[in-house]
């Protein structure tokens, strides 16, 4: 499941683990909507779980892509707490201009 190169079994160059900032890698899982499972969306570096969640929100849910995030270090799973959820994702709702539908496309303009 993990995309972490350190668990990689394939051939090729040996995995390098030099992490000069000392920030571990976290895998990020997002539940897109109520009723759907969390799915893997990517990874990021963060010094601890709290910052990993904050960074994951900024990085992977700028457009309300999710209602819940898990960040997973080597062994543990951490979920964003449900009661924080509304405030946690609120900033996306008032930034409608992040979606292409916000813009008026003049009559006849194609491929935009």
């Amino acid at each position: 499941m993990s995309d972490d190169p350190r668990t990689r079994t394939g051939g090729g160059a040996p995995a390098k683990t030099a992490d000069r900032s000392g920030w571990p890698l976290w895998e990020v899982f997002v539940r897109p909507r109520r009723g759907l499972a969390h799915h893997h969306v990517g990874s990021l570096h963060a010094p601890d779980a709290e910052l990993a969640l904050r960074n994951a929100r900024d990085l992977y849910t700028r457009r309300q892509e999710g209602v819940s995030i898990w960040v997973v270090p080597a062994a543990a799973i951490t979920a964003s707490s449900p009661d924080e959820k509304d405030a946690f994702f609120a900033p996306a709702a008032d930034k409608v201009y992040r979606h292409p539908t916000f813009y008026e496309v003049p009559e006849g303009a194609a491929h935009l």
């Binding site: 090729g12 030099a18 990517g42 010094p47 201009y97 194609a110």
Partner: protein
């Protein structure tokens, strides 16, 4: 054979000018996403997914590529495939990061609160794109820190386009329309790249790029329909950004060194010249609607080719800019180095704080004593 077959089934179709926005670039990204799911469900014919069994790893790798299946981080892959991907994804990530600078210059000077908020969101997206891509590169066994060091040492490149200056507000419009537009034409086929983490990152990125292109187009449209001075500013921006945007597709096919192998590995799906042509054919009708002129006296419709003939960019200039001698190379690198150095204490402090809390959590009695 199976590759060609799949092409015709899923169709690497770019709509002709005149197709509505709904069937445009976003439609192609969604088609790529659907194809990715379909391939995952189909699996590799005659083999349980993921299990290489006792087959030769090279053969298995080739069979996966042939069957349009994705290569995933834990799969065996040829060293050259891994190196090619690391180089390409890193260069792409660096471009997103450096690419924040030309537009970031205008955040404080945006003409309205609305435009300022939009530009902030766009520049934030570009930072996000850089991070998605560094994460994809890391699945190949390099660390982000290594890649950042290679960029800062000038040993890895970023797109030449970001070495041009943004002189007026209209440049922000021209970047959105032309630079993000060219990036999308380049990147939509990468949504079908054979390496899974890269393809998935590109799907995410392309969906966001659509807003970037439209906001730029809207800026130019507004200026082009404003006062004569605003109109002139818009035209001037298009004049300056047109050829550097054409150069974003890289050297002409005859000089392109990495293309053939990348095509065979299905990392790259179309040649530089094909994509450049596609971009020109897309822009001409868009420019007409803007009421702005594309600065190319040779530009004309060729009914035989069903495409526009156009003047290619100055490839000698492209090579000069790539090798470090563009108008803003030094400024861009100096700014990135300074930002990285000035952020060092934040990274260190956060790591120290996390270490201290971890130590307290594991050894509470020692802390109390």
């Amino acid at each position: 054979m199976s590759g060609c077959n799949t092409c015709s089934v899923h169709g690497h179709h770019f709509p002709e000018p005149g197709d509505g926005p709904a069937s445009g670039l976003l439609g192609q990204v969604e088609a790529a996403e659907a194809a990715l799911r379909a391939a995952a469900e189909r699996g590799r014919p005659g083999a349980p997914d993921g299990a290489a069994g006792d087959t030769d790893p090279q053969e298995y790798f080739t069979a996966l590529i042939e069957a349009d299946q994705k290569i995933e981080p834990r799969d065996w892959m040829p060293d050259a495939y891994r190196r090619t991907l690391i180089r390409q994804i890193a260069q792409h990530a660096h471009s997103e990061i450096i690419g924040m600078q030309p537009e970031g210059n205008w955040i404080t000077r945006a003409p309205s609160l609305k435009r300022k908020a939009i530009l902030l969101a766009k520049v934030q997206d570009e930072a996000g794109h850089g991070l998605y891509l560094y994460a994809a590169a890391e699945t190949l066994g390099v660390s982000r820190d290594e890649l950042v060091e290679l960029l800062l040492a000038g040993r890895q490149k970023y797109s030449s386009i970001f070495n041009y200056p943004t002189l007026t507000w209209a440049d922000v419009g021209a970047i959105g329309w032309l630079v993000d537009g060219a990036a999308i034409v380049n990147q939509v086929p990468l949504c079908r790249c054979s390496y899974g983490p890269y393809a998935r990152a590109m799907i995410r990125i392309c969906k966001e790029e659509s807003f970037h292109q439209r906001q730029g187009y809207e800026i130019l449209y507004t200026l082009a329909h404003g006062t004569p001075a605003q109109r002139e500013m818009a035209q001037d921006a298009v004049n300056r950004w047109w050829y550097p945007s054409l150069a974003m597709f890289g050297p002409p096919d005859r000089d392109s060194t990495h293309s053939e192998q990348s095509m065979a590995w299905k990392i790259k799906r179309f040649s530089n010249d094909e994509l450049r042509q596609r971009f020109v054919d897309m822009c001409v009708p868009q420019a007409e609607i803007l009421g702005l002129r594309i600065p190319d006296p040779e530009l004309r419709w060729n009914p035989e080719r069903q495409s526009y003939d156009f003047t290619p960019p100055d490839y000698a200039e492209l090579m000069r800019v790539i090798s470090g001698d563009g108008p803003c190379n030094r400024q861009r690198m100096a700014r990135r180095r300074r930002a990285h150095a000035e952020g060092a204490w934040v990274r260190e402090a956060a790591a120290a704080y996390a270490a201290k809390r971890a130590a307290r959590a594991t050894a509470p009695t020692e802390v109390a004593a």
